[in-house]
């Protein structure tokens, strides 16, 4: 195996595009190195993007907040502007692994690893985030939900890499939240998870909402029916029940070592309800 640590994005693209054999991008390494050591992958070239300075930048602009692909989730948790604007995204990112893992893992890696149970992905989908992709043919943007195509698979082409994740500007009276179920309090993979991002008007009526679920299908999914149940209503018992029902109905999970179809389907609704409540409270909603 060859290890490369380019200092610029063009160099990284060049390396990825020209590399022969199996080439992998190394961001935090918290998935990649585990898979290497477990013998699941045998890379010929690994391109470490952490020496590229731009990749560590969190930048706020009129277009929103851009998070460099090598930014550790731990660093996100220390960024007050980001935390204030997107508390749900940050809490999702901060739930990945331990403090040790937080010091390394990245949302870009979480996205590109394309696990159906990835914590940050439902939160990013609910946020309406996009990924900035750079490749031999230049830049392109993609809604986050279009990056993963199935477990472990992405729509990235040869030579392409994610360089940043872009969150839209935060509207007034709007907030997000993310919740997951794990058997332990920490150090766990989501058995099922839910993210809600919503906006309310002065009368506490929800004017906009995005709902996403994790670990209930081959990839994280958006739940339009749940969004419909929220929009135009205030957050009362009836709305919450409708959200829960819509989320459970949207689930197409599997039975595996971490959970059952029945459990995931049911708890998806519970978590969506609670996440909606949390986002509502953060947005300043009053009953």
């Amino acid at each position: 195996m060859r290890y490369e640590a380019p200092l610029t994005t063009p160099e990284a693209v060049e390396l990825l595009a020209s590399a022969k054999g199996r080439v992998h991008v190394l961001a935090g390494g918290t998935d990649l190195i585990v898979r290497m050591k477990g013998g699941f992958i045998e890379p010929d070239v690994v391109v470490d993007i952490k020496r590229i300075k731009d990749m560590h930048v969190i930048r706020k602009s009129a277009a929103g907040i851009s998070i460099g692909a090598a930014t550790s989730c731990g660093a996100m948790g220390k960024h007050s502007v980001l935390k204030k604007a997107w508390p749900g995204v940050v809490e999702a990112a901060n739930l990945i692994g331990s403090d040790q893992v937080q010091g390394r893992c990245t949302m870009a890696g979480n996205l590109c690893n394309a696990s159906p149970a990835a914590d940050s992905v439902p939160a990013l989908i609910a946020a309406g985030a996009q990924v900035l992709i750079v490749g031999p043919r230049g830049e392109r943007r993609l809604p986050v939900e279009k990056l993963a195509t199935g477990p472990g698979k992405t729509s990235l082409k040869k030579g392409e890499l994610v360089t940043a994740i872009e969150l839209p500007p935060r509207k007034v009276r709007s907030a997000d939240a993310y919740l997951r179920f794990t058997p332990r309090t920490e150090m766990d993979i989501a058995v099922v998870s839910a993210a809600v991002n919503l906006t309310i008007d002065r009368k506490n009526v929800i004017t906009d909402a995005r709902v996403a679920l994790g670990a209930v299908a081959i990839k994280a999914i958006r739940v339009p029916a749940a969004e419909k149940a929220l929009i135009g209503n205030t957050l009362n018992e009836e709305t919450l029940a409708a959200v829960a029902k819509a989320c459970s109905a949207a689930c197409k999970p599997i039975d595996d070592k971490r959970g059952t179809v029945e459990y995931r389907t049911r708890v998806a609704g519970v978590l969506a309800k609670r996440a909606a409540q949390a986002a509502w409270t953060r947005a300043g909603g009053k009953a």
Partner: protein, 157 residues
């Protein structure tokens, strides 16, 4: 292909040879001889191999040796100041925060990283900060107390 890595470990300039796919854990143990860094799982799930890399707590099993070129690495071997133990080290002994001791180096590094960022952590903050370090002997009670006692002493110092 074997590569040469120049880095700083516990304040000393250190060079070591290393394969491209070799983890920092293996390099520290087998190339540099710092066997206080322990392997409990090799997958980042137990924290026994915790080290501080450029001020950030990491599992050395999830870092490639090549990545530490030009960086600074702190391990348990660098914790005491000569014959003088770090407060965490003496409190761990006093409070019986270790039994078998295999997880202890990782806990010490995690606790050091915690107290640097948060000199007065609550019990809950300590428990979550140490959640990446597995201990199977103590039930964590005495570890949490040792960290609390260290925090109190360091605040007074």
């Amino acid at each position: 292909m074997t590569n040469l890595v120049n880095t700083n470990i516990n304040g000393d300039a250190v060079g070591f040879a290393c394969e491209a796919d070799e983890t920092l854990l293996d390099a520290l143990r087998n190339r540099v001889g710092l066997k206080g860094v322990k392997e409990g799982c090799g997958t980042g799930d137990c924290g026994a191999c915790s080290v501080i890399l450029d001020g950030t707590l990491v599992c050395s099993c999830l870092v490639l040796g090549m990545e530490v070129e030009g960086r600074t690495v702190e391990t348990v071997e660098g914790l005491s100041n000569g014959a003088e133990l770090h407060t965490l080290q003496s409190k761990f002994i006093e409070h019986a925060a270790l039994q078998c001791g295999i997880c202890t180096p990782g806990f010490l590094m995690a606790a050091k990283a915690l107290l640097k960022n948060n000199p007065d952590p609550s019990e809950e903050e300590i428990r979550y900060a140490l959640a990446g370090n597995l201990c199977r002997c103590t039930g964590y009670d005495k570890i949490v107390r040792a960290v609390q006692a260290t925090a109190a002493e360091l605040r007074e110092a």
